[in-house]
Assembly symmetry: D2
Homo-oligomer: 255 residues x 4
């Protein structure tokens, strides 16, 4: 069971709701993923702009926890404003802080992210924070009281997978709150790997919505998260340089 | 469905039977793995040596296909002798050729492996061949008529995972018979990765038997094989250097 | 030529001065490295504590630019205090900001690092900043006016090499001031790789001082930095999936 | 000093002669590389076909050792025929065996390669063998008496660098004759890495001829080979998971 603030989830897979070409495909993908948490950019919701389609039009939202995010914000103040809009619209008291600091890579701004998290925590939100894989920044966010840390595996929408397992492992090791690996997951092996490193959950979007068959990929990701979690709990074998090596890692350090 | 020679399998996970510390644990691990194929070294079977324990003592073998292997052979002739012993004992008409050429790494001998495969095919066996990830050797084995190619991800018992995805991808691309990735799998992500590359199945042993909790790891591997297979069928998203890159791989080649 | 603030260097290799077991070995290593910049922890200098040996005892410091660093500081204020001590002692007007935020990994604290850089820039120092490979943080440091950005390849003293070439490439691409890759370099290939990514220089210490033969390794690093710089300037070939691929990266994104 | 059969070389960098767009550029690249060995496909030489340009037209070949290769051969017999043509033309008594088994990847055929090596050794040639990185095949070639083993880092012309450092390390560890890493080197870091693993030399072509500035890249490769060799001789530091880890590789096996 995954516990974030006051909420409890059976599924450790969170899904984004963007970039689907077909609402019906999205609905089925969400179903087979068995996710309980859907994230979406508040700025893209039509409650604030009637000209835009409702991303949830075809979906029965009962049974889902909605996780609005502050995508589009470039400063802490903007992020707070967006979060309050979502709250006012009765969407959720849970918010994913996302303050982008680079238009090219969509990587987060550490300073504004930290500030936004602090402000939103003071406002009483349940705060999940999208962040880079900077180890000390993750600790700082936790010290502020963030309810979950969401380090990126690689930049949003790239599908490059886990570039730096070292940093993720350290973030996980030092964290007392859940670590949800968010962004960059490209295929099931990436999701499994993150979970094997000890992550408490995964948030992904493009890997499913931009797969050739999003429904099948959603199912694959569901299995992958289970595989990785069980693999983590099972305790993997040591790596060895030789099958018969007396000391497990003998030789490995030379590569 | 996986078809090897005349046999059809629902599960794409083959399990080895060595190195378990506890027969009951092994039995449960095999069950949750949902494997249909168990492989074992003929040389270690007690039908030939009453002083050794029966690795299958606690298991009901109904419903399993047994895949004896020629482990211990260093020449083609030895491998053929072992295969015939297994056949004479009524074990199976399916054999996994394994001719080791290096005591330290347990890597296979390409020349003797090729010879053994040729001889056993002439004798009418259904032949699955453990081989290195040499791309042309794999093609040669297929041209001989081998029923499945079993390239290693990394050396037996090391858990180093997939060292050379490039070669595996090429072996899979060029093969008309099933490719079962055999040896070196260390954790679920490795199994998923092999399947995502298009492998038809996975054979593993140590990753389960030497996990802290072999039963849980067997279940993890079951999920991972499903995740990887579905991920392969679903068609993964392209990798991108920037989320907004116009051309998918722009920039990637510079790393 | 490498230009940092008002200073110009022919060599792109900066050397740390710690962890040598033998002063004479250190002296020779420094010589063959052809470095022009030596860095050292102000806190370890005996001008402040006569009980400690002088790390430069055996070295003729003429011809070297000294780069004191603030190692040992955990806050911006401490870092500033250390920098001012160094200045007062007439060591240098150049300072390397190093504010550690994690005792286990020795990774830097982004918030205090940013603050320290800002304060020292206001005091008129030439400021080089040791930082994580957080892309947006690097940009922020540059916007403050930092004279050089020094992202880590991997944590100090680990020799793990370049874990995240992606982030380094982006930091380099977006930077108008020199980028010196600092920390984690373990062997010559790592130094060459960093330079090939476009880094303006390398700072390393342990890779030389803890090599079996530090003098030979210093020479190796000197060559590696030249190799990598020339390789960068020469413009490497594109990577290809097949030798004859019509489109360079065709296929690569599937791995 | 590198000793292959009766020949001794100061430089550990061998250069191919194909794919240059400009003869003068090639000449200068060869010069700054300080190579002593030039390899070329016998089949492409105009002594056998007057319609083709002489790749060495602009070069003074004094001081170079020529290493003809059997590129274009798909069988051992063809390779032997090509080698004898080269011998008859007085080119060299040294031959690089290259028998391609796959048109797409240009990977070598292990069976025909082994046969060709055996036949040419019986004919008295000094035989260097281009091979895959199959560890046992490399040993077999050495047992036949091959004068040097030339495993590929990755397929010819791809620039993918060293995909499988594990296999290269084992081939080098077990070999009593020189190991020259041949094919796949894309940039200086790759050349340095191969040498750090203990290779005795490097053969490359495309990385220089298809660089934007081949002359500069040739110089870079010269430095890289020196850097890697010195790094190997110097004995690199151990990798560590934490800078302060008591046991060097503690933790590394979990990734």
């Amino acid at each position: 069971m995954l516990q974030i603030g006051p909420y409890t989830f059976h599924s450790r897979l969170f899904l984004g709701t963007g970039k689907y070409s077909d609402g019906d495909v999205q609905k089925q993908a969400v179903e087979v993923s068995e996710t309980e948490v859907l994230t979406f950019a508040v700025k893209r919701m039509n409650i604030f702009d009637d000209s835009q389609p409702d991303p949830f039009e075809n979906m029965n939202l009962n049974g889902f926890k909605l996780l609005p995010n502050t995508a589009g914000a470039k400063t802490a103040e903007e992020a707070v404003r967006i979060a309050k809009m979502a709250q006012a619209a009765g969407m959720c008291d849970m918010i994913k802080v996302e303050v982008i600091g680079c238009d090219k890579t969509l990587l987060p701004d550490p300073v504004e992210t930290l500030k936004a998290a602090e402000m939103l925590l003071k406002e009483g939100f349940v705060v999940l924070v999208y962040t880079s894989d900077d180890v000390v920044l993750a600790r700082r966010l936790q010290e502020l009281g963030a309810h979950a840390i969401m380090p990126g595996a690689s930049p949003i929408g790239t599908g490059l997978g886990i570039i730096n397992p070292y940093n993720l492992a350290h973030i996980i090791e030092q964290s007392d709150v859940p670590v949800i690996v968010d962004a960059g997951i490209g295929s099931p092996k990436d999701a499994s790997y993150a979970m094997e490193l000890g992550a408490d959950g995964i948030l992904l979007n493009t890997a499913v919505s931009k797969a050739e068959d999003p429904i099948k990929m959603a199912q694959a990701m569901n299995y992958a998260v289970h595989a990785g979690r069980l693999g983590y709990e099972a305790g993997r074998m040591d790596k060895k340089w030789y099958a018969q090596a007396s000391s497990p890692l003998e030789g490995l350090g030379q590569l």
